[in-house]
């Protein structure tokens, strides 16, 4: 790996019951994905407030991904259904404002899908890296 190669900063919100466990499984199976991805554990994907996502972008994140249980599998029965609506609308709005739509993503990863977790993160990191630095939704004060 080149030393000065641009690497994106990616924040991943993972629900405790499925996706965080899926990430653990990826670890158990030693499935590689870029270290650019930093995971924040939340009880359910429905805990993710759009403000957290914007906050991450403000602080310099280049991509934000939210992972939750598959529809129908939510530990809390319906949390991810709310997430799905909230994120569909939020992502559409960010796109409408001209923010690159590839910088945000919502994925369903179950506790058994370690491979999917790793593949998702690889793909997302690659996509975001290709976009380059997040210029359209940045706060210059935080980039020093």
């Amino acid at each position: 790996m080149q030393v000065n190669e641009y690497r994106p900063l990616i924040v991943a919100f993972c629900c405790n019951w499925c996706s965080y466990a899926g990430a653990d499984l990826a670890g158990n199976n030693r499935l590689n994905y870029p270290a650019d991805v930093k995971i924040i554990r939340v009880p359910c994907s429905c805990r993710v407030n759009p403000m957290f996502i914007l906050r991450a972008f403000q602080r310099g994140a280049d991509g934000v991904i939210i992972c939750g249980c598959h529809p129908g599998d939510c530990h809390y029965t319906s949390g991810n259904y709310y997430t799905r609506r909230r994120m569909a609308l939020l992502f559409s709005m960010l796109d409408y404002l001209g923010i690159e739509r590839e910088r945000t993503r919502l994925e369903w990863v179950s506790a058994a899908e370690g491979a999917k977790f790793a593949a998702t993160m690889n793909d997302f990191a690659e996509t975001v890296a290709a976009l380059g630095e997040n210029k359209r939704l940045e706060d210059l004060r935080c980039k020093k």
Binding site: P50, M51, L54, R55, F57, Q58, P71, G72, S78, Y81, Y82, R84, R85, R86, M87, A88, L89, L90, F91, S92, M93, L94, D95, Y96, L97, G98, I99, E100, R101, R105, L106, R136, L137, E138, D139, L140, R141
Partner: protein, 331 residues
């Protein structure tokens, strides 16, 4: 141009006040000029007869005032609501923001309200008189004593040109005839933006939002923004900020504000009306409304009391977030 005359409204207000149905009246008070009217509470018949106005400039949506004005009232407050105001009225009731029993609603038809800045763009400064005459406004200025006639189509506010409904969805009594929900072209502008490239859209919004001075007028007038404490005023919310310090803050404020009212916004258009910088804020709200309609089925906030807003609801077969763009691109 309004179908209901001032006299009709005034006599209704006076009679309801005098027969004890209501103890106060929320209405429009005459200002300095022919076009600046101020929302005001009237307590006496004399005051109403002398100072109540009803004309093409009575755009203010009174619904939100009910939250504060019914707090310590004895008896009922009479409020005159235009069709679009009644949607906000219902939405506020859905959210338990005031007591229905404290309000007496008289629905009044509305033929659309005039945007004074549009008038000035045609007539120039120095307006001394602007009266309804036929299908337009007759405007006199200090620079030109000959009245200039401007058709309504040129001076109606954007929200009225794209009026979504002339139907009152709530009232105790109706003056005039009941109207219909209108199949308006209100999403055309949103579609135009959607069809731009991402870069163009970004440039467009940067241009618009960079004018924001964070006066909070959009928030403070919005009938959906009745929070006891707004996140933007709360130092513990992580979003507090008083100033549009940079483009991020501008985007953050408007995205979060629009998101917070998404599914609750009735598209009354007050935000765009009051913006001192003429930022087309309704285009943000309408984007959410349009998306909600197309993703989750048509939904009009405030159409009925007690409706479950789309963001506190779900369907097992809802659209996936990743399909949002596929869907739009194929449209």
């Amino acid at each position: 141009m309004q179908k209901i005359t001032r006299d009709q409204i005034v006599s209704k207000a006076v009679s309801l006040l005098q027969d004890g149905t209501v103890s106060a009246v929320l209405g429009w008070r005459q200002g300095e000029f022919c076009y600046d009217v101020t929302p005001s509470v009237f307590n006496t018949a004399e005051d109403i007869e002398a100072n109540f106005v009803w004309n093409d400039f009575c755009g203010a949506n009174f619904s939100k005032y009910l939250v504060s004005k019914t707090k310590n009232i004895d008896g009922k407050l009479l409020v005159f609501l235009k069709p679009c105001d009644t949607y906000s009225f219902n939405q506020l009731l859905t959210e338990h923001r005031f007591n229905r029993e404290s309000v007496y609603v008289v629905g009044i038809p509305c033929e659309g309200m005039v945007d004074i800045s549009k008038v000035k763009a045609v007539s120039g400064e120095g307006i001394v008189c602007a009266e309804s005459k036929g299908a337009g406004l007759s405007v006199t200025t200090i620079y030109d004593e000959n009245p200039k006639e401007i058709p309504y189509a040129e001076v109606l506010s954007e929200r009225c040109l794209n009026c979504k409904s002339k139907k009152h969805v709530a009232y105790d009594e109706l003056l005039g005839d009941e109207g219909e929900v209108i199949d308006s072209a209100r999403f055309d502008e949103v579609e135009k933006l959607e069809s731009m490239t991402s870069e163009e859209r970004f440039a467009f919004w940067q241009g618009e939002l960079s004018r924001c001075i964070r006066c909070n007028a959009c928030r403070d007038v919005c009938p959906a923004c009745t929070c006891e404490k707004c996140v933007f005023d709360n130092p513990n919310s992580g979003a507090e900020s008083k100033a549009p310090t940079n483009s991020f803050e501008e985007q953050m404020f408007h995205v979060i504000r629009a998101f917070h009212v998404a599914g609750r916004c009735t598209d009354c258009g007050e935000c765009s009306r009051v913006c001192p910088q003429n930022i087309p804020l309704h285009l943000l709200n309408r984007k959410f409304i349009k998306d909600i309609n197309s993703f989750y089925g048509d939904y009009q906030a405030g159409a009925e009391v007690g409706m479950r807003a789309p963001l506190v609801d779900y369907d097992l077969g809802d659209l996936e977030a990743c399909d949002v763009f596929e869907r739009r691109d194929s449209e």
